[in-house]
């Protein structure tokens, strides 16, 4: 089975690069190939000027930090014991206490992993990746399943690492996360990169900065909507129409007039600034979270 195909990516030193895509898009496979955990059938991976399998994998592993999506650390071991263990694998790195402070787990220092909350466990997983003071940090869905508060505190940790000059490769299916953390984003779907750029560039590529979403009582003709002024793209999903517009002040009155003309009535209407989610929808016709 091919999970990922024809991927050509470059991550620059010092940037935070995001792989954004729905579950099953091939993000984890991509990251694990880069981490040297899954061999690729074809192609080459160059990491910090090195390649996997050249006989010096251990030296390369010294320089990267990894957080895996599915790892559940041993429950009977305490936070500080877990970190000491990970620290012992590396020749250089931070002190365990410094890392505990970085991820704000001082109060849980001697608590067993099994007693931690989801967010605390995830911070510990990131701490295990940070303990070697890596040049390159891999984070695979670091905030999946966390509540907003826990997500914010994790974002904080990532931003601090980035501010100190670290390079990050992050996967996520949350567009807010990608928008907030990433300098550049690759949008993935079905094992392929379908868009690449800074979040701002990608949103700009929609040719618009506003999205109007509405539903009506009577179905409307798509091509009529397409002809409205300032509308660049029309998309209908279930009962909800979504218009990509460049000037909302022009598009909105025209839309209302058109609805009236087609003898339909407005049920709901919302507008928002275009996001990466809208980029994904316009490229695939599906939403990120239920794709």
């Amino acid at each position: 089975m091919t999970a990922v195909n024809g991927l050509d990516l470059e991550v620059f030193a010092g940037e935070c690069f995001g792989l954004l895509g729905p579950n099953g898009a091939g993000k984890t496979t991509t990251v694990e190939i880069l981490e040297g955990l899954t061999p690729s059938d074809e192609g080459t991976v160059e990491l910090l000027d090195q390649r996997w399998g050249n006989g010096d994998d251990r030296a390369l592993r010294e320089r990267i930090g990894v957080q895996l999506q599915e790892t559940q650390l041993a429950e009977k071991v305490t936070v500080v014991e877990t970190l000491r263990l990970f620290r012992s694998f590396y020749g250089r790195g931070h002190s365990v206490d410094d890392v505990i402070q970085t991820v704000a787990l001082e109060e849980k220092r001697n608590a067993r992993v099994g007693k931690l909350s989801g967010g605390q466990k995830q911070r510990l997983a990131v701490a295990c990746a940070l303990v070697s003071d890596p040049e390159l940090l891999f984070l695979d869905e670091p905030t999946t399943g966390l509540d907003p508060q826990a997500r914010l505190s994790l974002w904080d940790i990532v931003e601090k690492f980035r501010a100190r000059g670290g390079t990050i490769l992050l996967t996520t299916h949350y567009m807010e996360e990608a928008t907030r953390l990433c300098d550049r984003v690759a949008i993935m779907d079905h094992g392929k990169v379908i868009a690449l750029g800074t979040p701002a560039e990608l949103i700009e590529s929609l040719g618009a900065d506003q999205i109007i979403e509405f539903s009506v009582t009577q179905e409307l003709a798509d091509d009529e909507l397409q002809r409205l002024p300032a509308v660049s793209h029309v998309h209908k999903r279930d009962e909800v129409y979504s218009l990509t517009v460049s000037e909302i002040g022009v598009a909105l009155p025209a839309l209302l007039a058109e609805i009236k003309r087609q003898q339909s009535e407005l049920v709901t209407l919302t507008t928002h600034q275009a996001t990466l989610e809208d980029v994904f929808v316009s490229l695939t016709g599906r939403m990120l979270r239920d794709a």
Binding site: L37, R61, E62, L68, E70, L73, S88, S132
Partner: protein, 347 residues
Amino acid sequence: MPEAKLHPLVELTSTRVREFLREKEAVFWVFIFPVLMTFALGIAFRNTAPDKTLIAIENGPKASETASLVSRSPDIAASVLSPDEAAQALRSGKVSIVVKPVNDSFEYRFDPTRPESRAARLLVDDVLQRGKGRTDVASVGETRITEPGARYVDFLVPGLIGMNMMGSGLWGLGFTVVVARSRKILKRFAATPMRRSHYLLSFVLSRLILLVLEVAAVIVFAWLAFGFTVRGSWLSVALITVLGGFTFSGLGLLVAARPTTIEGVSGLMNFIMLPMWLLSGTFFSSERFPQILQPFIQALPLTALNKTLRALMNEGASLSSNWLAISILLAWCVVSFVVALKIFKWQ
């Protein structure tokens, strides 16, 4: 206090030991259970030798006379039963033989395939013949021996230690490795510069540390409760214990090399342990099994370990006189480690 960074092997091993000691159930099965088992079996079989032979006498005109003849032997406990009850008692093994008085003679009914029935026949016949006036022609003297080293508990303790070493080696390694694999901890470690040999070695080392405690618990308890003594040299016992620990760690690693689920590894472990539980002579000598099975039984690692431990502990034998069993253990140890390392999967 400046933080000292320890060697990864030390950290891995101490993490393993800590994890084990914090698992209350595992501690029970590895330390407490064998001690309880030694206690229960030691008590249950404490007075096996002087147990009376149970017989039935069929009710009839001569029954009470026969009963009084039989009662002259201190080793026989007779009960007078109706023919039906007597037949039932014989069938269900409550009595070893049924004696039916016929006029002035007796008829014995017993199952000659049951050793205790054959012994009962000799015993009953002897007391009845003497009662009827037979006199012994030669005088005999006898010495009864129940000294430490020849009792059932002395036989049992080395067997229990062997069985416990097998169980904790296979469970301790097999189970833990598969849990770590299914929780993707193995994969996480594989993403660090940790040496894989350190990881696997840490399991064996932690096993050996716990082994010392396990074996000591049983020996000390058996010594306190039953006066169990080790006749051979302690050094030899320690060496064999370490070899046994390595061998069963190797087997544990082997069963854990591939499975990704607990169910998978449990099946494999039962497949490996069940024959040894049955055949390797933990509770009774494996020599009792049919001759045709012996080559197979003797080749099992637990048989080899039990035999060597018994020879060392009970007979005070030397290591060199057990070279065959030791070679068998060594072979299992080397083969299982080599194969396990070859086929081991990290994710």
